[in-house]
Amino acid sequence: MAFTLYSLLQAALLCVNAIAVLHEERFLKNIGWGTDQGIGGFGEEPGIKSQLTNLIRSVRTVMRVPLIIVNSVAIVLLLLFG
């Protein structure tokens, strides 16, 4: 049972990378998860799909630059220490 905090960090990094590579125009719009498609009115509570869309958009906006740094660090560490 080698589920350590370090492997959790690696898994989290891979997940965030996966979210960051989703292309807005080529992919998300085609499956209806684009950021300008059907946000919904103001009165009603947003549904799960619009929450997910917002989450993907925010993650992609916020994590773009930090991901470059963290990925570089991870690459260097993996090259050095395997």
Partner: protein, 312 residues
């Protein structure tokens, strides 16, 4: 223990101690930290002893050695004054900035417990079936400290239970000749990683379902930490009575934690009407009910997963 602190208690005790202690070899000019405990034979230190009793580990050289040692060595005097002022500055800096990284004042609330609360809460964790009122009491918008309300979450029990779980895991591994020190670190890391995964998954679900709740992250960590108590019980019984005892106690604790989590989270996650037992229609409340059930069902699974390899 301060032998000089006992100076006020009576002279006979004083007479015994210097013979057991090291003879102070330092010349009068040295600011020797051993001065705090030694040399209760001089009249001056006896006078200081009574004052120093409640004082604690204060400035050793200032009190124990005779005063002329202090004045005779101005360099060490100044160095000590400078060092102590540096330390005071550093402490101020840390105190000012610590609140930015760790919410110390918020954390203090979760550790405001007393023995009665801990006892009753542990009883509640093992037998939640008779408890009627699960609401947390509020006092002018702030929740009451755990000391006064048994329903309030605390971090003392989860923290202690986590540490005890690691120790009991080490004990269990030791009885099976499988122990090695890095395994303890692995157990701790694994349990913490699962806790983190749980907290993140629940936070994500709460965000996706737009649940307006006052359930903070620390509250969540507290609730999810209560399962360690059941795990400890199961493993200890497994050590004493073998697999049958382990399964029995673990089964009992799993059901108890399941009921406990449902009853506690129902009030926090579900809407008001549903919390009072009236089934409210609507997809939203249904999803919230599913979330509560999923969180509660994950507890027994994790309890089993984290302990089954410890009991053979």
């Amino acid at each position: 223990m301060h032998p000089a602190g006992a100076a006020a208690a009576g002279t006979p005790r004083q007479r015994k101690w210097p013979s057991k202690r090291r003879i102070p070899v330092s010349p009068p000019g040295m600011a020797d930290p051993h001065q705090l405990f030694d040399d209760t034979s001089s009249a001056q230190s006896r006078g200081f002893g009574a004052q120093r009793g409640p004082g604690g580990l204060g400035y050793p050289a200032a009190a124990a050695s005779p005063q002329e040692a202090f004045l005779a060595d101005p360099v060490s005097n100044m160095a000590m004054a400078y060092g102590s002022s540096l330390a005071a500055q550093g402490k101020e800096l840390v105190d000012k900035n610590i609140d930015r990284f760790i919410p110390v004042t918020k954390l203090k609330y979760y550790f405001a417990v007393d023995t009665m609360y801990v006892g009753k809460k542990l009883g509640l964790l093992f037998f939640p079936y008779l408890h009627q009122d699960w609401e947390v009491q509020y006092q002018q918008d702030t929740p009451v400290a755990p000391r006064f309300d048994i329903n309030a979450p605390d971090l003392y029990i989860p923290a202690m239970a986590f540490i005890t779980y690691i120790l009991v895991a080490g004990l269990a591994l030791g009885t099976q000749d499988r122990f090695s020190p890095d395994l303890l670190g692995l157990q701790a890391s694994s349990a913490l990683a699962w806790l983190t995964v749980e907290v993140l998954a629940i936070l994500l679900s709460l965000y996706l379902l737009t649940v307006n709740t006052d359930l903070t992250t620390i509250d969540l960590v507290a609730f999810l930490g209560y399962k360690y108590v059941g795990m400890i019980g199961g493993v200890l019984m497994g050590l004493l009575c073998g697999k049958i005892g382990y399964y029995l106690v673990l089964g009992w604790c799993c059901v108890s934690i399941f009921v406990f989590m449902i009853r506690t989270l129902r009030l926090k996650i579900l809407a008001e009407a549903a919390a009072q037992g009236v089934p409210v229609r609507g997809a939203r409340n249904q999803l919230r009910m599913y979330l509560t059930m999923a969180v509660a069902a994950a507890q027994p699974l994790l309890m089993y997963w984290l302990t089954f390899h410890l009991v053979r």
